[in-house]
């Protein structure tokens, strides 16, 4: 009796571990394309980039390659262009991210009222975000053009004779922010709208019965319920805004043709623009790698801080024990 039961147990164990092995094998079979791609394309690139950042690599000098330690990183702090780029990028992010959040949230709240054509209007706000950035940059160049632009025409109706050079350094960041908002809020609008529609009606009614005004109800009930989504959009917005690169480049008006190495107006000389300039235009691969790696760490730190701030302002629905109270 004992022996047979031991036998079957062992058999079961062997069978189950064999089964487990098969599961593991199939798992790796299915994820292998990603895993190989991740190792070959991402992991190797990450390591290679990090190693490069400690060398004097210029794209060709493999025979005279030298380990320079942290000197590339030290150089960033005395590189005026890098610090300027950091400053402009920070300013851009600080203006764009909150503005985009507030505008998309407000539009979602407005759309959430009982109105006709909600879907259609939501669609209009979403369309800019599916357009290629090359086309969007052209649209804004046309609108903001000094002589033939619609915006200046409108302004000169109010104060005749003004012709603002929007794409010059003085205003280029403002135009970049307009463009980014125009292109960037669509996703936020539909996400906030969906979340607002998910707020239980009873909750609103209960607050109103308790004597809250509609505005109080909005501020104390609706907004807290939205904070997890606001938080998510905030994190994604910051990560995206700090990396801004293509839009400032394409927004540049130049006669010599837009390329990777195009120099945007000084005001739109963002950090990533500087990194690309150094890497590809100047051939400083080592320094360029140090620039992007430092920035990567900076983005991680900022993200971490925002994550830490959650407990002060983000409300997560607490799961109640023992069913509904």
């Amino acid at each position: 009796m004992t022996t047979t039961s031991t036998l079957t147990k062992a058999g079961k164990k062997r069978r189950s571990s064999k089964r487990e092995q098969r599961e593991v094998m199939w798992f790796f079979f299915f994820i292998s394309p990603w895993l190989i791609g991740f190792v070959v394309l991402s992991l190797v690139s990450l390591v290679l980039g990090l190693l490069t950042s400690f060398t004097n690599f210029d794209g060709f000098n493999l025979s005279t390659l030298k380990w320079v330690g942290l000197s590339n990183y030290a150089r960033i702090f005395s590189d005026r262009d890098a610090l300027w780029g950091l400053q402009r990028t920070t300013l851009y992010a600080i203006l764009y991210v909150p503005l985009a959040l507030v505008i998309s949230f407000t539009l979602a709240v407005l759309l959430n009222q009982r109105i006709r054509g909600r879907g259609f209007l939501g669609g209009i706000f979403y369309i800019p975000s599916i357009l290629p950035v090359v086309a969007v940059a052209w649209m804004w160049k046309l609108l903001m053009s000094r002589n033939s632009g619609l915006v200046n025409a409108f302004i000169s109706l109010l104060s005749p004779g003004t012709a603002i050079n929007w794409l010059s350094s003085q205003y280029a960041t403002a135009v970049l922010i307009f463009l980014s908002i125009w292109m960037g809020i669509g996703g936020g609008v539909i996400i906030f709208l969906a979340a607002l529609q998910g707020v239980p009606k009873e909750l609103e009614e209960a607050a109103l019965i308790d004597g809250a005004t509609r505005f109080q109800m909005f501020l104390r009930v609706i907004v807290p319920l939205m904070t997890p989504i606001i938080f998510f959009r905030l994190v994604m917005g910051i990560i995206g805004a700090l990396q801004v690169f293509t839009a400032p480049l394409l927004l540049t008006s130049t006669n010599s043709g837009l390329t990777i190495g195009t120099m945007p107006p000084r005001a739109n000389y963002m950090f990533m623009v500087h990194a690309v300039q150094q890497t590809f235009a100047k051939g400083r691969y080592g320094y360029g790698a140090a620039l992007v790696w430092m920035f990567f760490v900076l983005i991680l730190v900022v993200t971490l801080i925002v994550f830490r701030s959650q407990r002060y302002w983000v409300f997560y629905e607490v799961e109640q024990e023992g069913g509904e109270a």
């Binding site: 599961e23 798992f27 790796f28 299915f30 994820i31 394309p33 990603w34 791609g37 991740f38 070959v40 394309l41 991402s42 690139s45 990450l46 290679l48 980039g49 490069t52 539009l107 407005l110 009222q113 109105i115 006709r116 209007l121 939501g122 209009i124 706000f125 369309i127 800019p128 599916i130 357009l131 290629p132 090359v134 086309a135 052209w138 649209m139 046309l142 609108l143 002589n147 033939s148 619609l150 125009w182 996703g187 539909i190 989504i229 998510f232 990560i239 990396q243 690169f245 293509t246 394409l250 043709g257 990777i260 990533m272 890497t279 360029g288 790698a289 992007v292 920035f295 990567f296 993200t303």
Partner: protein, 302 residues
């Protein structure tokens, strides 16, 4: 439509008295605000289309002309016929075909492979699964340039710059966002389905390909549209990884056409830009509902 709303407002206001009237006024105000903002939102697109239908002189006129005197539909023909390339084929056709080619070369393997990886993450109960999934999603945090620059160096070493290989390689490596969507979808299937299939002697690959994949049409379509829009509009990767003789639509149209004297031909370029955005708009409307839904679920679930 507005007349209808107006009449309705009147009758309702008469019935509901003061409070009702206030409510209605609020509603009209809200509606006006929203429509005004929406109009403001489409101005850039309208202005692009209007510009593409003017003459160059009208485009440059100061003070500006809002509408063209005669609608210059010929700009669209000139946009396509600009610059004859090799063997008399219009360069525009070449750009379009190259952009489409890259969309297919990257998009088709990308969607299929992402489905496969998503299936692995959804259906294989393995202890290390969550670890790998977290690693995959955390790559979203890494700025693109951190990996792109070393990749450029690597691809240069292997003589892949100026070829279409990178697009195939990126496609075969799958895309985290697509994997995520497929995983969500495949995770919703009942376990019994798999068990039944296994008893019938199906191996995992057949469970994936013959049982689950046939109903994944909506996810495939959504990913295909996202992939198409990403590749079609991408300017950075082709500019960096291709050479000047292999221009895509986005690369070529970043700069204005020039006449033989070197002056910019803005109106024809704008016509080309309008043609350039039409496919992305069509793709969006083809999958509008699903695109919005997936934007919402990925946004809400984080």
């Amino acid at each position: 439509m507005s007349a209808f709303t107006g009449r309705q407002t009147l009758t309702v206001a008469r019935h509901e008295g003061n409070a009702g009237r206030q409510k209605r006024v609020g509603q009209i105000l809200l509606y006006t605000t929203l429509v005004a903002i929406a109009l403001l939102f489409i101005v850039p697109i309208i202005w692009l289309i209007l510009s593409s239908l003017k003459t160059e002189t009208e485009y440059n006129a100061y003070p500006i002309r809002i509408l063209p005197r005669v609608w210059q539909w010929k700009n669209y023909f000139e946009a396509v016929e600009q610059r004859r390339g090799i063997r008399g084929v219009h360069q525009y056709v070449g750009w379009a075909l190259r952009s489409l080619g890259l969309c297919a070369l990257n998009g088709i393997p990308d969607v299929l492979v992402s489905a496969m990886v998503g299936f692995g993450f959804a259906r294989q109960r393995v202890r290390v699964r969550n670890l790998f999934f977290t690693v995959m999603l955390s790559m979203v945090m890494v700025p693109g340039l951190v990996t792109t620059i070393p990749q450029f160096v690597l691809f240069t070493r292997f003589h892949l710059i100026g070829t279409y290989w990178p697009w195939l390689l990126w496609g075969l490596a799958s895309t985290p966002y697509f994997v995520f969507m497929f995983r969500q979808f495949f995770a919703s299937f009942p376990k019994e389905l798999e068990d039944a299939a296994e008893i019938d002697g199906c191996n995992r690959l057949r469970v994936f390909w013959q049982i689950m994949m046939p109903s994944a049409g909506p996810v495939v379509a959504t990913c295909a549209i996202f992939s198409f829009q990403g590749n079609w509009g991408d300017w950075f990767a082709p500019t960096l990884f291709l050479t000047g003789d292999k221009q895509t639509m986005a690369m070529a149209l970043a700069n204005a056409y020039q006449d033989p004297a070197g002056n910019p031909m803005v109106v024809q370029t704008m016509a080309a830009i309008v043609l350039f955005i039409i496919p992305t708009v069509i793709a969006y409307f083809l999958g509008e509902r699903r695109i919005r839904e997936s934007a919402i679920t990925s946004g809400l679930k984080g």
